[in-house]
Structure formats: C-alpha cells, structure tokens
Symmetry: D2
Subunit: 216 residues, 4 copies
C-alpha cells in the first residue's frame, strides 16, 4: 500500500484562485483504487517556504509517492514535467515579496533532477482517456520549478520516496476570461487527469517510451 | 413563444467528430426555459448543400431564432461571430470535394451581413457564467462562413426570422490530442455555453454595448 | 501613368513608433518602376480625422492607386486585407480619446467593401520574393479598419480610383522587445514588401486566384 | 586573444536551408573587434556525429569560446539557452535516421549543465540594439540540446574553454512562407545578433542579473 501526497498552490500573480489547489482539494480524504490513502495540501506560493512545508508533509504522512501540481497559465495541455533545474529567476515577486534572480536553489545541488514519475505512461493514459497531455521540458524558473527541484533534491536523499514529480495544468475557464485568447481546462477534466496520473503511478512498473520530445 | 433552430456540422478535415454537432445534439427534444421548442440538426460540411438544408429546416419548423454552430480548431474561446462575408476561399476541399476559391457566395449579394444575435449580451452572459467568450470579426472563408452568409441572406428576406447568427467553438479535449498545443473545451462547457446563448437570445431586448473589438 | 498614394499611421497604444509610417516614409519622393509618382503621408491614429485627411490627400494629388498601411502587433506576416466592415469597436481610445463601440462607420453605408487591390497576386509576389504574406479576412474594428472602410466607401463613389486597399504589417524588431514572444519584421523587409505591392498593383491586370482562405 | 568557434547546423525536417548556418557562414574568415579569430563550421544534424565534429573542431582550432547556433522554428526571438539536459527524445528521425527516445546522452553524465555564456548580458545587449531576445529554459530534446549537452560535458573537462553555450534563432523569412503564421527574422538581424553575442562574450566579465525567467 502506497501513501500518496498531492499538493496544489495558493493563488498568485493577481489571481483569486489557483486551478492546482481547486483540483487537488477534490481528493481530500479519498483513497486510490487499491486503497492507498491520498493526502492533500495547499502550499504557499513562496520560495523556500513551499519546499519546507512540502518536506514536512512528506515526513508527517510518511508518503512514498509525491505529486506536486501547479498552474501554467497559457498552456493548453496537462504538462508532465520532465526536469527540475537548480535555478530561480523570478519574473515577478512571490506572495511574500521575494524575487530571486539567477540564484541556485541549492548552493551545492546538482544542476537538475529528472522526474521519477512514469511521465510517458501518464501522458499515454491521459490521451487514451481523451485528455490532452504532453511531456514538458521546462517547469519555468519560478516557485513551481523551485518546489519541484526541492522535492527531487529531498527525494534523492530519502529512499522511501518511490515516485516524485510535478504536473503543470492550464487555467480554469473562469480564470481564462481575464486572459483573452488563453486556453483553459474544466475542473472535471483536471480532476480526472490527476486521478489517472495517480492510478498510473500505482500500476505502472517501468515507464513507457514513445517519442514526445520537442525539436527546440 | 419562439421556435429555435440549432445546427451543428458533420466532421471534416480528417476529424471523426465535430464538437458543434456533439454539443447541439444534447438539445434534441428540449425546450428553452420559457417553453420554446428547440429543433436540432447536423448539417453536411458542404458548400451550398449546408445552406439548402438549413433553409429547408427553417421553413419546415417555422423557426424565428436560428443559431448555427461550427468548429474553430485552434481557438480557445466561444466565438460570437459578428459578420458574414460574401466570399468563399476554401483552403481544403469540402466533404463533397468542392473547393471554391475567391468566389462570391451570392453573385449579386451584398458584401456582408452582420449577425442579428445579441452577441455582446451573450459574451457578457457567458463570462458571468465563467465561460471564456469573445466577439470574433471573421468566421473564415470556408463552409462556416458560407452557411452564416447564406443564413443571413435568407433572413434578410424573411421577416419571421427575429434573430440569426453563428457561433464558433473550440475543439473537444479528445480532438485536441491530435493537434499538439491546441486549446480545447469540454462538452459540458460547450453545452452550457449554447444553453446560455439561447436563453440570452430569448430574454435580451437590445444588445449590450461594451468594448470587445480587436486592434487588428 | 498612375498616381500612387501610400499612407502610414502615427504611433498609438503607448508605442513611440509605428512601423507603417517608418516603412512608408522611405518612399517619399520616389517613383515606381514605370515612373509613376508615389505620394506618402502619415495619418493620425484617430477615427474620422484619419479618413478626412486621406480623402483630402487623394484629391489634392489626384491619385488612382491608394494603399493604406497599418501596424498589426502580434502578426508574423504581411497581411493583405480582404474586407473592410462598417463597424467601429475600439478596445482602447484612439489618440484623441475617442472610443466608439459597436457603431457603424457610415450610418447608411453598406455592411462591407472588398479590397480592389490584386491581393492574391501581391501575396504570390511577396512569397516568390521570400517574404511571408497572406490574405487576412479581418482588419479588426479599430482605426485601421475604420480608415480602410472610409477609403473603400469613398473609392466606390469616385471612378478615378482604380485600386484601393489596406495592408497590415508586423511590429519592427525594436518594438517587439516590449512584447515578449511577439513576431517582428525588419524595416528592410517591410519596405521591400511595400515596393513589391506597388509594382504588382501597376503590372497586374486581373487578380490571381489560389486558395489562401481560413477554415475559421 | 580569444579563439572563437561558431557553428551552425545543416538543414533538417524537410527544410532546404538552416538559418543557423546561413548566419554563421557570414563570419567565415572574420576577426572579432579585438582581433580574435572566428572559426566557423556547419555541423550535421545527427546525434553523436554533431558532437564528435564539434569536439574535433575545438581541438583543431584550440578554441576557448564556443558558440553553437541552431534553428528554433516557431520562436520569434533570439533564444539564449540557459541549460542543456542529459536526455534525447527525438520527435522525428535525425538526418541519418536515428531517433533516440528517452535516452541519456551520456550514460553516467550529470543531469544538466548550465551555459557558461553571459546569457543575460547578451540578452541585454541585443535588446539595446533593437533585437528581440530572451533567456530560454529549454533547448528541446533533439539534436540541438544533444550538441549543447555534449559541448558542456566536454567543456567541463577542459579548462581551456572559457565560455560555451547555445543560441536558438527563428526561421528566415523565406522559410516561414512554408509555415503559415510562423515568426521569422531577417538574415541581417541574425548576423547582427551573433556579432553582438560574440562581442559580449569577449567584453563581459561577470554576467548581468535581471529578471528574465518564466513562470512556467
């Protein structure tokens, strides 16, 4: 039996909602198909504190699968993030006013970590279920990538964590109204996507391998 | 009591589904809030024949509100089309192999017709309901614009038609999988949008007027 | 011998330059290949006054070919505009603070006019010359479309005008810096495009006809 | 005195030209402002062989600044790549038919390397010169990222290499014709951008630091 942690973020950048927490909160108190408990949490959109709270939750709940979710305004698909890089470069201040620029997240950390989620298998499963998804090769350089890197850095030192990674999701339709022309995805679709991602994490052994890269 | 005609299109351009008909068919046999009957139909994606079938349906059902719906692959929002132009310029052949290029739809028709739907009121209502929507100033030069022009040309000569126009909708999520990066909208959201468009047509007297144009 | 009027616009929307005037001013005092004089002018980005100044220039210089040029921020290609619609819907105020919304340009004018430039022949010529170009089916609902409609409305009543139309051009590279991700085109390319458009207007009899429409 | 290597790529993906080699070849036999020799080469668009030829050129010419350039079809700006990742995921076969999927470039290599070019200083200089530029956080997962990773892996083991990195550039205008709606940049602008990048590499000590990251 696995123990699963699913996190979303607080709203940021003048939004009043964050689709990641809206979707993640639907799993509160739920079990996976095989009866694994799912713990959920909303993390602050703040450098450092987001990671600290995440690590504290992992330890408190003794989780072995960790799936962090964040908003990617402007993207049209569910993004399975492939890689976290050791770099903060904040285009805008975070919710506490911090704006690190060109600063390593971990002073002596390695340059990057790859996700240990079965990202291709999740993309495959989502597409089979009628949900647009792809592998993304950048999680940006803001709090999402910061948390993702912090998670993988922690996971690399803690053997009990079997699978860890980050998923970016589009705006909700009601958010997209304030961003003319921006794509969105309904809450139902988002929740269904996270549900399938969790099940794939539990069921899939080795990841699948089919082409889903980008030329540039 | 109004009599409402709602049409979608058959799949085209190598698609196996068309979101317009998927959404429109949900209204089969339904009444509007005030009890007005809603007639639905799937039109062929063919120049001329689409318009002929539309006119035949209007006459058979004695409709006074006509709302045609079509797929706009690549758009992220519900598009209330403002204007139909008297021009076919088909980038690809239609489902019968016809490919008119730079040809007027009506040899002696006026250059364009404006929608008689309360397009701004519908955009306002959709946004209030959390659905991204905008006024579009081009319905393209393919079968959608052709049908829209044909509808307005007919309506201009038939006093019983109170309101007529065209709405473009995004891909369904399952379609967008084949179009990497393309926005989509869930069937639930599409149906809700059409429902609200119908209700606004029935309830709204004069259209609203707020800025929703484009600079270019 | 033709007499050609080429106009650009003053900067608007917080820009300090307008690529249309930067490109058009390069033709000051120039002759076409066949010796036809080219008159140039910068028009104000103002509803009504832009058209008034245009008409006054056409009459003063007795022009028979009129080519108006405007900035289409965000577009990547040279846009040969196909149609002007009888509608103002200003997303932002013009340079004089006017912001007409859903207002016909000419109270009793026809719904739209088609360009009388050989737009397909120009697109063909530009592509042959290595310059990305396409036919556009909307010039927006701001001052550009307003001027284009005003021009065509005037031209429809004045037999001496042989050809008239509107061309939208991308940002200059230096402008695009302030619009992250926006396409741009160099001044050299823009000037070359206008030069070829003028020559095509002079040399081309009937327009060409190849598919260059849009599905939606 | 530095010794500079500037490389472009051969055409790929059904193109007949590659803007990277078109721009790079203009520097053949040139010296930088301070008299440093610039060596140029066209590399094959092939996994492994591109890196092998690059390393051979670096050693033959004893270069200490290495700037590799590649085409990023669909981007509008000059992209200073921040990071190379240890992963091949080829969406299409390379020019020799190889299509590695989810395969590390170096079996025991580190997950990623950061560019040692003064990327922010170059972005700043280009913008000051009127050329749209930005820092990119993904060079994709095709031959460009493969070469970039191979370069940085080699450079990490060779003290004589002072600066090394990768720059992605848009399509040329003549290429964009085959990609409707795609941005492009003129050869003059591309050459000017590379010239300024080289000069910044030579003149700049520490890199500049201003926000140029992405939220996602």
């Amino acid at each position: 039996m696995a123990r699963i942690l699913l996190t979303g973020f607080a709203p940021f950048n003048n939004e009043t909602t964050n689709p990641s927490w809206q979707a993640v909160r639907q799993f509160e108190g739920k079990l996976s198909n095989n009866g694994s408990p799912i713990f959920v949490a909303e993390l602050p959109c703040e450098f450092h504190r987001a990671t600290e709270e995440l690590v504290s939750l992992i330890e408190r709940h003794q989780c072995d699968i960790v799936l962090c979710v964040g908003q990617a305004g402007g993207r049209a698909e569910i993004s399975l993030e492939r890689v976290a890089i050791n770099m903060d470069d904040a285009r805008i201040p975070d919710n506490r006013g911090q704006q690190p620029i060109d600063r390593p997240i971990e002073a002596h950390g390695q340059a990057a970590y790859f996700s240990t989620l079965p990202i291709k298998a999740i993309v495959h499963c989502l597409r089979q279920s009628g949900i647009p998804a792809h592998v993304s090769n950048t999680a940006g350089t803001y709090v999402c990538n910061h948390l993702f890197y912090g998670l993988m850095h922690y996971a690399a030192r803690n053997e009990q964590i079997w699978r860890a990674g980050f998923i970016h999701i589009p705006y909700l339709p009601e958010q997209a109204i304030a961003h003319p022309g921006a794509p969105s995805m309904s809450l139902d679709t988002l929740v269904s996507a996270l549900d399938k991602a969790i099940e794939t994490c539990l069921e899939q052994g080795q990841d699948l391998h089919f082409a889903d890269g980008t030329l540039s």
